[in-house]
Amino acid sequence: MADFISRISVVCFAASYAVALACEGSRLLFRSGIRGAVMVGFAAAGVLAHTLFLGWRAANEPAVPLSSAYDWYLLAAWLLAFGSLWLTVANPRTPTGLFMLPLVLGLIGAAEMSSRAPFPQSPATQVWGAIHGSFNLAASVAVAFGAIAGMMWLIQAGRLARKQAPAQGFRMPSLEKLSRFTGRSATIAAWAAAAGFASGIVLNAVTSQQGLLESIPWNDPVILRMGALVAWLVTAACLERAASRRPDGPRTTALLSLVSLGVLTLSILWGLFGASRHGAPPHQAGPHLSPAAAAVMLAEALPTATPPGPGVIR
């Protein structure tokens, strides 16, 4: 059994999700009596393989479980895939997977491009690091769920505005439900991102107290990027709340959720392709390193343990 699990690769579950996505897409082309079962079967197989893969990595990595950027992306993808499967089973007539599975595959792709090296760990910063990473994960997943609900809202509103009956096999949830979901996601994302940012500051403060970091490196590109993301999510949540008592509030909320996803995507791309030393071990530092980044790097040289995301603040 262990041998079987060890042979599960990213390709296994990514391919399962891709087939499930193709099945969802075929709703628009033709009717089928067995498509639903095939789609759920592949999505469930993907989630199972994904779970076993993460479980295997958690049990067999020498570092703290799931403590690399690679694992963080895969964990985020797993949460979205599980949510997609759950929603598909609960609402078989809604093409949830058509919206969620591309994000899942995108996160898996991001994982493949990111570092598998675990972040430095230490008992002193382990708890704050875990909190920091978890809040960032929650914020990112909430943004993704909110954006999907927002996109569905815009499609449903477009259909209702055009005064068309729903297309076969493409029935969206009601505007009321989607609007409520988008609003809640925006609130959760803002709180989680703010908590993630705050816990990152605490993490740096703890590191600083140990004398290995002079001060929090506020001008590090990653901190600036994360700060901007948090600022946007909090602003979006406030705007959503302010708009909720206006007739066009639901549309504003839906559009804000899509902008939030765009900001998050840019942030992830910056993390993947940008030249930051954030979260990297000290021996990888180059001569071009800025004093602030050197300070960050120094902090990370301390033994810490977190499952932080691409926007980790230390």
Partner: protein, 424 residues
């Protein structure tokens, strides 16, 4: 073994004649009792709905079912109509065509509203009534069960009955349910008392709506309607206030000018706290200024908008027709194959009985000559004989079944009768 039907529907029988020809449940039961007396030993099922009257007859044995002419006369007699009036408008079919027709009817393919599901229940009721009156039998039983199976397949394997076609059902299921998740916490305002409003309210009630207010120019009429529908009556002068509180408006007044103008709505809109408003304007001319529909958070649908959605759904149903007909054809072929195969059952029985009799006499002779055999050995030998006979019969029975798919296997049956000297 034959099947027949005569009948007429909205396609062929004028409404006045259809009304005279229609049977109530009691009249249908009485007609079946008369059928039993008139055509003893024959099976009969009477299907009578508001759009069709059809009499199915069958004969299990060699005697033919009543001829179509006799069935027309019988229907005319039961309803006291001159048979000469019915003859030109009623159609009759036999065997495969009759089966195909019933399967199409049960699947809603012959209905006035294509794919409507109520016909399935009516077919079931007709069959149940025939059972009660003891005019149903194995042939009509198999035929009606196969018809219901076909209807189920058509309903599940095609979308022919999925899209809604009536304006109230489209308004609630395709539009109101697209805006609101639930209706039990929504205020429904009914303006006017048009006929369409009743039907729409029925769908809204089914969807969970409980808080319903009716305003009408005549307070007495509003109160009367409110009592009937379990709603509250409001004054027409309070329309603006009711509009502020409402989440969903169904408007069906007979007013010749808009009842709610853009200016009126603008003043109500400011007090609504940004809540969404769905307006089903089912009046002609319209009760709501169409410009209200451009306001944010307002979903306004006129009767023309809903009618267009109904037409689109109707076209969707039409597109499903080829798939549904293919299912009907497949099930008809299957049923007829089984039916033809059943007609060979007496010959098979005689063949099997002859072989069993010969086998038993041979076994008796063998056991007399071998008295030392114990019971176990005898049982083994008997079982071997039976298996041998079954294997010999397998090929002719398979040939008969295959032949049955293309019609009654008269040639093979004759050959079997002559080869094995099978007497009737």
């Amino acid at each position: 073994m034959t099947l027949a039907f005569v009948g007429g529907s909205h396609r062929t029988v004028p409404m006045e004649l259809r009304e005279r020809l229609a049977f109530s449940a009691e009249q249908a039961a009485e007609a079946l009792r008369r059928f039993r007396e008139r055509f003893p030993g024959r099976e009969g099922v009477l299907l009578s709905t508001c759009n069709r009257v059809e009499l199915y007859a069958a004969s299990e044995h060699d005697s033919a079912p009543p001829a179509p002419r006799q069935l027309v006369d019988f229907l005319a007699e039961c309803r006291g109509i001159d048979a000469a009036l019915l003859t030109p408008v009623l159609a009759g079919e036999n065997d495969q065509a009759a089966v195909h027709h019933l399967f199409s009817v049960a699947s809603g393919l012959d209905s006035m509203v294509l794919g409507e599901p109520q016909i399935v229940a009516q077919v079931k009721q007709a069959w149940a009534l025939a059972q009660e009156e003891k005019t149903a039998g194995p042939l009509t039983g198999g035929m009606f069960q196969a018809a219901l199976r076909t209807a189920k397949r058509v309903a599940t394997e095609t979308a022919i009955g999925r899209e809604r076609l009536s304006i109230p059902s489209v308004a609630v299921a395709d539009f109101a349910s697209g805006v609101f998740e639930r209706f039990d916490d929504k205020r429904v305002l009914l303006v006017g008392a048009g006929k369409m409003a009743h039907e729409t309210l029925r769908y809204l009630r089914d969807a969970g709506a409980r808080d319903i207010v009716i305003v009408n120019r005549s307070m007495a009429r509003a109160e009367d309607l409110a009592a009937k529908l379990g709603a509250r009556a409001g004054r027409f002068s309070d329309l603006l206030d009711e509009l502020v509180r409402a989440d969903l408006v169904v408007s069906t007044t007979g007013a010749t000018e808009p009842v709610v103008t853009l200016e009126m709505f603008a003043s109500a809109e400011r007090r609504r706290g940004g809540r969404s408003l769905l307006v089903l304007d089912l009046a002609m001319p319209r009760d709501f200024d169409p410009r209200i529909g451009t306001r944010p958070g307002v979903w306004l649908y006129s009767i023309d908008d809903l009618g267009a959605a109904c037409d689109a759904n109707r076209k969707t149903r039409q597109r499903e027709m080829p798939g549904a007909l293919a299912i009907v054809e497949e099930e008809t072929q299957r049923f007829m194959g089984d039916l033809h195969h059943r007609s060979s059952a007496p010959v098979i029985e005689r063949l099997r009985a002859g072989w069993t009799e010969t086998g038993e006499s041979e076994l008796d002779r063998l056991f007399r000559r071998l008295p030392g055999l114990d019971d176990t050995a005898r049982a083994e030998i008997r079982q071997s004989f039976q298996r041998y006979a079954a294997k010999l019969l397998h090929s002719p029975l398979t040939s008969l079944r295959n032949e049955s798919h293309s019609g009654p296997p008269h040639g093979l049956l004759d050959a079997l009768r002559r080869l094995f000297d099978l007497k009737d």
